[in-house]
């Protein structure tokens, strides 16, 4: 277990540094300037927004640090999940980390976004933070259920191509339909629709890229794939 967990943490550290830099260089400045454009005080917790006394260095360090920790946290989660769930994850030892990372992305990000889409600070949430906390947890569970359902449908389909289509179907359907059914819970706070869409695109890109990077690093740090992988149902340790 330790080797797998350590591999996850190492992958998280590597990818976390890249993600941390991405956060500091791209996401943080953009988020901060959107917060400036949006109505001040809309989000209810930008009391410190005007006190730019905080040094740029501190901001950069916290920005990078949060990103690195986020990478390590998710990397550790991926490593642990891989250790325990590997026998149940479809694919070869080369593709399994990606399948599992996809499930992680669904659980941690996509699920919650179905009803609580990413927002820039300054955009107002119509639900109280405590309500959102409960909703967020429930949506993470929904994301995990989608991942399990997709895996089950993949296995039932028999052959690989039909399986991939069957497995992805409920996920695509949920992503396409659920946001239309759930009420809008944010107000734009003076930001244009395009700007909000662009910001959401950046957030989705960042998290998807993070998971993809984690799976790639995790696989790269692991044992080289062997011929055993050519036959299904064989797991190596």
């Amino acid at each position: 277990m330790w080797p797998t967990l350590k591999r996850g943490v190492a992958a998280g550290g590597l990818v976390g540094v890249v993600y941390g830099l991405f956060t500091a260089v791209v996401v943080h400045p953009l988020t901060a300037s959107l917060a400036e454009i949006a109505h001040h005080g809309g989000h209810g917790h930008d009391a410190g927004a005007h006190s730019h006394a905080v040094s740029e260095t501190t901001t950069a360090v916290v920005s990078v640090g949060s990103g690195v920790l986020w990478g390590i946290f998710l990397g550790a989660a991926l490593g642990l999940a891989y250790y325990f769930l590997e026998p149940a994850v479809p694919g070869s030892s080369a593709t399994r980390p990606y399948v599992l990372a996809g499930a992680g992305f669904l659980t941690v990000s996509v699920g919650p976004w179905l009803a609580l889409p990413p927002v820039a600070p300054g955009m107002e949430h119509q639900l109280a933070a405590s309500t959102r906390l409960v909703l967020y947890a429930g949506l993470m569970l929904a994301g995990a259920v989608l991942a399990v359902l997709g895996t089950a449908l993949y296995r039932r389909a028999g052959d690989r191509r039909r399986g991939v289509a069957a497995g992805l179907a409920p996920i695509v359907a949920a992503v396409a339909v659920v946001p239309l059914l759930t009420p809008t819970v944010v107000t734009a706070g003076g930001l244009s629709t395009d700007l909000v869409a662009a910001y959401r695109g950046l957030v989705v890109f960042g998290q998807a890229g993070l998971w993809f990077g984690l799976a790639t690093a995790f696989r790269w740090l692991g044992p080289a794939p062997t011929n055993l992988d050519l036959t299904p149902h064989e797991t190596q340790i």
Partner: protein, 61 residues
């Protein structure tokens, strides 16, 4: 090394490898890191961590 390993085997394997204390400490560390990054409410977190949350799409704060 068996070729028909199951999730259950992995759980059993972990239980023989780890002491309850190790499991407790590990879970506590992971939970607190996750809590600080995702849920710790704002007055206590730095501005830059707040924008990190927005950038990561963590919408429950």
């Amino acid at each position: 090394m068996s070729q028909t390993e199951t999730v259950h085997d992995r759980i059993e394997q972990a239980r023989t490898e780890l002491t309850p204390t190790q499991i407790a400490v590990g879970l506590a560390l992971a939970a607190s890191l996750g809590f600080v990054l995702m849920f710790l409410q704002d007055p206590m977190v730095h501005d830059a961590m707040h924008t990190f949350r927005h950038g990561a799409g963590i919408t429950c704060h």
